[in-house]
Amino acid sequence: MTVDTEALHAELIEWVRSWNEDESTAEVDLDTPLLANGLLDSMGMVAFVSHLEERTGKPFDFSTYMPGPTASIRTLLDHCLGR
């Protein structure tokens, strides 16, 4: 599956905003810490990663990814794409 990275970035930012039902006051960009800023909880992380897998067609390997407060759209996407 070919991934248009720029379009995907915009889509993922929108996904996070949508997950928060546009209620969060935190700015969302590619490098916003998603957990530390409360933009994703544990369920949100599972849902976001599932969406990443669906959009990229690649499995997200949790065994080699150490999630933490600084996890961002960029770090999660890069890991999913094997970068």
């Binding site: 957990l35 909880d41 544990s42 369920m43 992380m45 599972v46 849902a47 990663v49 599932s50 969406h51 897998e53 669906e54 499995p59 997200f60 390997d61 949790f62 065994s63 150490m66 999630p67 933490g68 407060p69």
Partner: protein
């Protein structure tokens, strides 16, 4: 130093595969309820992939990143309730091998079940002697009370050898019986064996009031806070732990995480980053912090702080 007093090997040899599949189903159900049409298959695959750390290498890597010197590796016996569970002797060998591979990083709490029959206590004692296991693990939702009289021969061994008992409390793996999770079920055994220390696993997270008053009034009852990263708390787990740590039972509390149960959303270094004086430890004296994070757990298994350094002992 930090002792994580409750971790599990992230291995589907230790946690039966059908339990993990049920966990994935529950996650899938929750996501669908929130309108996220996520496939059950990928969620299950991801969870199963996480449970392939059969030799403990990934766990030790996270412990290193988080500054955790030692962890109590908890090996519940599911052999009476799951056809896929490892037989007890094999479970013991697996955990002994992990300890040999990572010297000084683990103390094992080995699981028993009262249905093991008359040979069970001798087998338990043999594994303690042969492998140096540090305590006994009970998982009552598998179908028994921790005060089941068939466990008393095991408790006599624990009393004679100074071994603590870690008993699961609260809900557990979905196919099992949650009615056997309340902490009060341990009360009879705790009264009958005042020389045995009982730790209520997850007692600081579920049934907290019941677990706390047992700790307050029974000298030989403790609780751990494992599973806190995934607890249900509107105010968040950091605030919950802070309140618990400032309650009158801080001398009975063991830090623990129940790694890898939260591993799909956060990690050991990430959760430990909140254990700071302005978050989890706000208003908690340094001496109390040390008790919770290490010294009480070490005392229960008969270790000294000085003895516990990486590479020190099994």
């Amino acid at each position: 130093m930090i002792v994580d007093s409750h971790v599990v090997l992230a291995s589907d040899r230790v946690i039966p595969r059908e339990y993990l599949e049920e966990q994935a189903t529950n996650m899938h159900h929750r996501l669908r309820a929130h309108g996220r049409d996520v496939g059950l298959g990928p969620v299950t695959d991801r969870l199963l992939a996480l449970h392939s750390d059969h030799d403990g290498d990934r766990l030790v890597a996270e412990m290193d990143s988080a500054g955790v010197s030692l962890a109590f590796l908890v090996a519940a016996d599911f052999s009476h309730v799951s056809p896929r569970a490892l037989p007890p002797a094999e479970l013991a060998r697996l955990h002994a091998a992990v300890c040999r591979r990572h010297p000084g990083r683990f103390r094992v709490f080995w699981g028993v079940d009262p249905r093991a029959g008359p040979d069970g206590p001798a087998l338990f004692e043999r594994h303690v002697t042969d492998h140096g296991f540090a305590g006994m693990k009970l998982y009552p939702p598998a179908g028994y009370s921790p005060s089941d009289r068939r466990l008393y021969p095991y408790y006599e061994i624990c009393a004679a050898r100074g071994l603590p008992v870690l008993t699961h409390t609260g809900p557990g793996w979905a196919p099992l019986d949650f009615t056997l999770g309340p902490p009060l079920l341990v009360d009879q055994a705790a009264r009958d064996f005042p020389g045995v220390d009982f730790v209520l696993g997850h007692g600081g997270v579920t049934h907290v009031e019941e677990a706390s008053y047992l700790c307050a009034h029974r000298p030989n009852v403790y609780l751990d806070v494992s599973q806190f990263p995934a607890m249900l708390a509107a105010e968040g787990w950091a605030e919950h732990l802070n309140r618990l740590f400032r309650s009158g039972i801080s001398h009975k509390i063991l830090f623990g995480t129940c790694w890898p149960s939260f591993r799909m959303s956060t990690s050991l270094p990430a959760v430990l980053s909140a254990f700071t004086p302005d978050a989890v430890f706000a208003g908690v004296r340094p001496s109390v912090q040390k008790m919770i994070m290490a010294t009480t757990a070490l005392r229960l298994v008969g270790d000294s702080v000085a003895a516990v350094t990486p590479g020190g002992h099994q």
